[in-house]
């Protein structure tokens, strides 16, 4: 897998490396003594299954302690259909996989509403229930004694019995799993899965369907587990419930944890655990006679040790071997400089990609635009947390081409108001209308799709590069779900998103495209968030203290940017404590105190309002 557009020399080296690796993988059964072919089959099967778990646990952040249930459903589903119902073995593998995926859909639908360790416990319970069912449904599964009528897989008269031949089947499975995960995580859908892990709130506020993405990741991981289970069952030709119990789930999780969030992590983790198993079973018993025991204790110790020493597993090491980052090449810089088709020439203030086609009311004359139609209307909005009325009958209207400053002392309810308006917190009273459409109570993701973008007071950037962070902003107006991601399709959309993200970054003045977002200074992180919000091509922009942490010159640049956005017809709601900045850019101010509107009007009027002075400076000053 080489990345398109890499320097030709690097690409050639990588292609050669991939070729050598492929040749070695193909030749392995002949290179190693016969006994090892068995081991290779297991590594490839577990590797593929663990790769699914890496998507789930490593990338999406959803820990599953019940993955062996899906593995078991795939295994039993395939061989019982073939052995007891006479289904063609190859077809049965497909059906077993689908059965596991369907089970994951049904189980995931309720339990994915849970998160963190609650989710892990729910999957644990599900895993135990499935193990009980495998034992108790003896009529189907053969019960605790296992299922033995496993037919032989054969293709054009060639039977897949001996491990040397079966290895190629399992190799196809493992390579397929690894390459599709590698394709997926770099795609639009994969970026969304990774974003969701960093911050569900921020992911929803750039329009990602968090609930659906979780379910897709869960089903995909289960499908890989089911396919692996089916291959496992045909390989050992006998299955019993003990292969799919909690111990098996923990084993799979150990593999994923050792590997870490990298497409190769599953296979590497599976190789380490499987080889370790073999060593513990076959080498140590000769010394102590208790191999199986040591094995169990060793798993426990490894799991604890990996979590303590490196919770990210071998991820860093593997990333050095095979980089999967989307990088900004020189051609991207050129694309940013060059005028894109249909977009106004870059360079002049007030123009650039974020404006294209999104808000026709705007013109290039910064600050001179007439106030447009009402874009955001908030009426009598209220939000109560237990006994605290955080927002109380807040009303405001925001027009296109207008900057409305929302100010007030700390704890006045500004951030809660933002959260309610952007859909992260449902209101307890009142209405919110966006572009004339009532959006009260709709989720953040749907509100984002209707053209509202926001930044966060405590920056909520995703755990990825600056460029990728801003690319997530293009989520709502690009296409491509999990399927296209898995197949590596949608490259034109990706290229467009990269150019647009780079333009948005150029606009806010951030040039560190390839840096890890978390490594930037806080001020820069805020600007990246603004760029991410601009990438949504919003009509309404909610900025929560964008100037905190900026230096003086940067603040002036920010003010210029806000004015030019306003000139394009964007409606901006600005929460900010830097009064100089607010006074300089805001057309109107709304002052909040104790959750409600204290004053409203032009900056100069509000500044002299005695109530406002009292709220800010205390009674005596008034």
């Amino acid at each position: 897998m080489t990345r398109r557009g890499a320097p030709a020399g690097g690409a050639r080296v990588r292609l050669a490396a991939a070729g050598v690796a492929g040749a070695v993988l193909l030749a392995l059964p002949w290179l190693l003594p016969a006994f090892y072919a068995n081991l290779l089959c297991f590594i490839a099967i577990y590797g593929g299954v663990a790769t699914g778990l890496i998507l789930l646990t490593g990338y999406a952040g959803l820990v599953s302690l019940g993955q062996a249930a899906f593995y078991g459903i795939g295994a039993y589903g395939a061989v019982v259909l073939a052995g007891s119902y006479g289904v063609d073995p190859w077809l049965s593998i497909l059906l077993g996989t689908l059965l596991a995926a369907a089970a994951a859909y049904l189980v995931g639908l309720p339990i994915l509403r849970l998160s963190g360790h609650y989710l892990a416990l729910a999957t644990l319970a599900w895993g135990i229930i499935a193990a009980i069912l495998f034992t108790q449904l003896a009529g189907l599964t053969g019960g605790p004694n296992g299922y033995t009528h496993v037919p032989v897989l054969s293709l054009f008269g060639v039977a897949f019995i001996d491990p040397e031949r079966y290895y190629y089947l399992t190799l196809i499975f493992a390579v397929l799993a690894v390459s599709s995960l590698a394709a997926l995580i770099r795609s639009r859908a994969g970026r969304a899965v990774r974003a969701m892990r960093s911050s569900e709130a921020a992911a929803a506020s750039v329009g990602m369907e968090v609930g659906r993405l979780k379910l897709q990741a869960f089903v995909l991981a289960a499908a890989l587990a089911g396919l692996g289970g089916a291959l496992f069952a045909y390989f050992i030709a006998f299955i019993s419930p003990s292969a799919f119990d909690l111990g098996a789930s923990i084993r799979l999780l150990t593999m994923a944890m050792i590997g870490g969030a990298h497409p190769l992590g599953g296979v590497v983790g599976a190789a380490i655990v499987t080889i370790l198993d073999d060593v513990l079973q076959n080498v140590i018993p000769n010394a102590s006679g208790q191999g199986g025991l040591v094995q169990v204790i060793a798993y426990g110790a490894i799991l604890v040790g990996v979590m303590m020493v490196s919770p990210s597993g071998l991820q860093r090491l593997l990333s050095r071997l095979w980089r999967l980052r989307v990088r900004a090449g020189p051609e991207l810089a050129a694309a940013v400089r060059a005028p894109a088709a249909g977009a106004p020439a870059a360079g002049a203030p007030g123009e650039g990609a974020p404006g294209e086609g999104a808000h026709p009311a705007g013109g290039p004359g910064a600050g001179a635009a007439e106030p447009g139609p009402v874009r955001l209307e908030v009426r009598e909005l209220g939000r109560r947390f237990g006994g605290l009325q955080a927002v109380d009958r807040l009303s405001l209207a925001l027009r296109g081409g207008e900057i409305l400053g929302l100010i007030g002392p700390n704890g006045a309810g500004k951030t809660t108001a933002f959260n309610v308006i952007s859909g992260l917190v449902p209101p307890s009273a009142g209405r919110v209308a966006l572009g004339g459409e009532d959006v009260t109570g709709r989720g953040a993701e749907r509100i984002a799709r209707l053209g509202l973008a926001r930044t966060f007071q405590n920056t909520a950037l995703f755990d990825m590069s600056v460029l990728e962070n801003v690319m997530t902003g293009c989520y709502v107006h690009t296409r491509g779900g999990v399927w296209r991601g898995l197949l590596g399709l949608g490259r034109t959309d990706e290229a467009r998103a990269r150019v647009e993200a780079a333009r948005c970054l150029a606009r806010v003045g951030v040039s560190e495209l390839d840096a890890e977002a978390g490594a930037l200074p806080v001020g820069k992180q805020r600007l990246v968030e603004v760029a991410r919000a601009l990438a949504l091509r919003p009509q309404v922009l909610l900025l929560d203290e964008p100037a905190a942490g900026l230096r003086h010159a940067e603040k002036q640049e920010l003010a210029a940017l806000l004015r030019s956005l306003k000139g394009e017809g964007l409606a901006i709601l600005l929460v900010e404590h830097d009064m100089d900045l607010v006074m300089a850019v805001a057309d109107r101010l709304v002052v909040m105190n104790y959750g409600t509107t204290l004053a409203e009007g032009a900056p100069e009027t509000v500044r002299r309002d005695p109530e406002v002075i009292k709220a800010y400076l205390g009674l005596d000053a008034a």
Partner: protein
């Protein structure tokens, strides 16, 4: 189902439920103070039961060996932390010496009560040491990391249980073999003891948390870690004490249940999970809630097992999911932030 059967199931369920309640108490205590969901809670039960059996019947008292090893590791870590390079030999030699001594001593036949007491203290120490060695060094890590660590502990401790005591099932002498008859149902003295002991422990815990300074400090650490730290309560010490009490409680539960159900190396997980279900039913925060939840799970399990024998277990585990969902939905309604 006759009234007598129902009453029998009820008593049976309450006896098991009391054990789940004790486990639930331990789980809630650890969760409140350290934010760790302890998958290995049931292993403390197993260690307690089998250590007591071992001490009273002269079989290998593996719990003591484990305590020696854990203690030596704890001391070693302490020396490394404080850079006491010159003292490193002490835990190593001391641990090795004690280990040798344990092996060299003749088989023990302690009276049951003493065996139970020694077992509880031993397991409490092991619990504290495991916290110090595995959780405390990564105290800032997320709850999921904790969960995976305790999953590892569960596996490791279960393996050690098998190593020390083998796959057999062991019985612990019950306090009195007889039974009383009440309402046409035979209630064994052991069942009564289990219920009374649970009640007693509840009262003791209440006194500890309400009447002692350290108990109050633990509650403070549970409510607000940063705040507790500011007034001089060390979160690390609070965690050690929470784990010690919790592990000791579970060991007592193990000793209490061993005469009723036999003790095996793999008894822990299912007990621990049911304790967890009970704790979550009770809200995962309050101690009375955990006790009531545990009792409810015990009774439900008894009736479920009677009516659908094979799937009784599955029903109890199946409860985890709707209960968690309900809990999260309720929490979300109350929550201040999404």
């Amino acid at each position: 189902m006759t009234a007598a059967t129902a009453l029998f199931l009820l008593v049976n369920g309450l006896t098991n439920g009391a054990i789940y309640a004790l486990l639930g108490l331990g789980i809630v205590l650890i969760y409140n103070v350290t934010r760790v969901i302890n998958i290995a809670q049931g292993e403390f039960v197993m260690l307690g039961a089998l250590t007591a059996v071992g001490l009273s019947t002269g079989r290998a008292a593996g719990g003591l060996t484990l305590a020696v090893l854990a203690g030596a590791a704890w001391a070693l870590v302490a020396c490394l932390r404080r850079r006491l390079w010159a003292w490193l030999w002490l835990p190593v030699l001391g641990g090795a010496g004690l280990w040798w001594l344990l092996g060299a001593l003749p088989a023990w036949h302690l009276p049951p009560l003493l065996a139970a007491l020694v077992a509880a203290v031993t397991v409490a120490f092991v619990g504290a040491a495991l916290y110090r060695l595995t959780i405390e060094p990564v105290a800032g890590a997320g709850e999921v990391v904790f969960l995976i660590i305790t999953t590892g502990l569960y596996l490791g401790l279960q393996g050690l249980g098998l190593l020390f005591w083998g796959p057999g099932s062991f019985s612990f002498p019950s306090v009195h073999a007889g039974a009383i008859r009440a309402g046409g149902v035979r209630v064994s003295y052991q069942s009564l003891l289990v219920l009374l002991a649970t009640l007693l422990i509840l009262v003791l815990l209440w006194l500890f948390f309400e009447r002692t300074l350290f108990g109050k400090a633990l509650r403070a650490a549970a409510m607000n870690r940063a705040g507790a730290r500011l007034v001089g309560i060390s979160p690390s010490r609070a965690g050690i004490v929470a784990f010690a009490i919790s592990a000791g409680l579970s060991a007592v539960a193990g000793v209490l249940i061993a005469p009723v159900t036999y003790a095996t190396y793999d008894m822990g997980l299912s007990l621990g999970l049911k304790g967890f279900v009970g704790a979550v039913v009770g809200g995962l925060a309050g101690y009375p809630g955990a006790v009531l939840g545990g009792l409810a799970v015990g009774v439900l399990e008894a009736f479920a097992a009677y009516s659908t024998s094979a799937y009784g277990e599955a029903i109890v585990y199946g409860l985890i999911i709707p209960i968690l969902l309900l809990r999260v939905l309720v929490l979300r309604r109350k929550a201040a932030m999404p």
